[in-house]
């Protein structure tokens, strides 16, 4: 039943076992630097490995880790749920490194690891290009390096980075995304350049996880107000693990206020909610809603669009138990769009006609 929809899972997280897994993909210099400096791991504190949220209990191995190999992804998610296509969004902390040269080297290694250890070994998989946004120039170069491989369908940034993502310094990245038909994915998580909240540093994991929502709100407002959406109307932005239900009330305030001060940002020349509806997509794990049908239906009505939500399991993050990978309460009429059609509309490279001859994966295209 579920697999009959040929679902596309838009948020899968392969976890890097440790830096020794990436060194084969580095130059000799950086390979030795990792060893000499004793850099054993770059797991981010945004997803502490031992936190129950980071890896679902029954998906953990004997040492408490998980999601480190393809066979686990296949048995715990792809094969089990009947997923037709899955998009890998690695969250290893290469984006936290302050040394831009090191960040570029480590990010390239991570992307090559994703390609060799995952994409090359399962035709159902696609991936995001993780960007070293410490340097916009190097981030664009990384897009140029990997874009010819059409299994990369998206680029990936963290929601809390060095600057609000709408800032014009980042626009070369958006230009490259549009030119190559790549979506711009923004995942929950911080690079810890700033406190994770606008009122200061948090004390607890709980505070920080919840604060991602503020980060998404501010990032969305930045992309809108700076004019990134106006400049690149073909750009699709996907909010990953952002939660969903906060969006309508946030847009209410944004749009209401825009009516009075739109002269500040005259390039926003139509209702902000319309622009967001055209260019922003959200994955549904987590949804952040009670599980009764009426409530969820009402919330979805507030979006005034059936095109914005993308299904994701968020594997191996613990968002659901058993195989209940669709948040409860989602109306059945929405399933064809949620599970597949919206992803095809969002990710140009997932559409069968978009797979050019240079594509390295020759299997059936999701």
């Amino acid at each position: 039943m579920f697999s009959a929809h040929r679902p596309i899972d838009c948020d899968l997280h392969p976890m890097v076992p440790g830096m020794q897994a990436l060194t084969p993909y580095m130059s000799e210099f950086w390979r030795d630097q990792v060893v000499e400096r004793g850099i054993t791991t770059l797991d981010s504190q945004s997803w502490p490995v031992r936190s129950p949220k980071t890896i679902r209990a029954d998906w953990r191995g004997p040492k408490g880790r998980g999601a480190e190999s393809l066979d686990l992804l296949q048995s715990q998610s792809l094969d089990r749920l009947g997923t037709a296509t899955g998009i890998l969004n690695p969250l290893y902390g290469v984006q936290l490194v302050l040394n831009a040269d090191m960040a570029v080297a480590f990010t390239r290694a991570l992307n090559d690891w994703t390609r060799a250890e995952w994409l090359d070994r399962d035709d159902r998989l696609r991936a995001s290009i993780v960007l070293p946004l410490q340097s916009v120039e190097d981030a664009v170069a990384e897009i140029e390096r990997l874009a010819p491989d059409r299994r990369f369908v998206q680029v990936l940034a963290l929601v809390m980075g060095e600057n609000p993502l709408g800032k014009r310094q980042y626009w070369p990245v958006y230009e490259a995304c549009v030119r190559h038909g790549l979506a711009f994915g923004i995942h929950a998580g911080s690079a810890y350049r700033h406190p994770q909240t606008s009122v200061g540093w948090t004390s607890w994991y709980l505070e920080e996880y919840a604060a991602n929502q503020q980060g998404f709100q501010s990032t969305l407002a930045s992309l809108l107000t700076e004019g990134a959406f106006a400049k690149y109307p073909a750009l699709k932005v996907v909010l990953l693990e952002s939660g969903v239900t906060w969006l309508p009330s946030f847009l209410w305030r944004l749009q209401k206020t825009w009516k009075g001060v739109r002269f500040e940002i005259p390039w926003v020349d139509r209702l902000p909610a319309e622009i967001i509806r055209d260019q922003v997509r959200l994955t549904v794990q987590p949804l952040d809603a009670p599980d009764d049908d009426n409530t969820v239906e009402r919330i979805i009505d507030h979006f005034r669009s059936d095109d914005m939500l993308l299904w994701a399991s968020d594997w191996p993050h613990w968002q659901f138990d058993g195989d209940a990978a669709i948040p409860p309460g989602i109306p059945p009429r929405l399933l064809p769009k949620l599970l597949r059609e919206n992803a095809l509309a969002t990710y140009g490279r997932l559409r069968p006609e978009a797979m050019g001859p240079e594509a390295m994966g020759q299997g059936e295209v999701g």
């Binding site: 014009r168 004019g227 106006a230 009075g260």
Partner: protein, 137 residues
């Protein structure tokens, strides 16, 4: 519909405005370079007085970072939430079809015409040799 003699033309200079109350309505009259326009003084949002608002121009943009500023002095912003309306049409910029201020016909008429009536009794003497702003409301 009543014809209201609002003021002698000289009393509302170009760029100026005047609030009048007649027939139970509050109406604000603007002079845009010698052309007169009358709008309800009630913002359709929550009823703020447009007469107390900021007079500004219209800004548009073809690309982020560019500001094309035109029609200086022809947009009135409600003092409460800064919704902006085109004085020439009463229409809001952000939703011109649904959100607009009621507009009333306004013109300049010679005092000699006005003394013949009919018009609403004004509170100042009409002199045949002057011109007056007249609003139909």
């Amino acid at each position: 519909m009543a014809r209201i003699v609002v003021a002698p033309v000289a009393e509302i200079p170009s760029g100026g405005r005047k609030l009048v109350e007649a027939e139970g309505k509050r109406i604000v009259v603007f002079n845009l370079g010698g052309e007169f326009f009358a709008l309800s003084d009630r913002c359709p949002h929550q009823g703020g007085s447009l007469c107390a608002g900021l007079l500004s121009g219209h800004v548009e943009s073809s690309t982020p970072g560019e500001y094309h500023y035109s029609r200086r002095g022809e947009m009135i912003r409600c003092p409460w939430h800064y919704w902006e309306f085109d004085i020439r049409t009463g229409k809001s910029w952000f939703d011109p079809k649904r959100v607009q201020v009621r507009q009333f016909p306004a013109q300049v008429e010679a005092g000699a015409t006005l003394v013949e009536g009919p018009y609403l009794a004004e509170t100042f003497p009409v002199r045949v040799e002057d011109s007056y702003v007249v609003v139909e409301a």
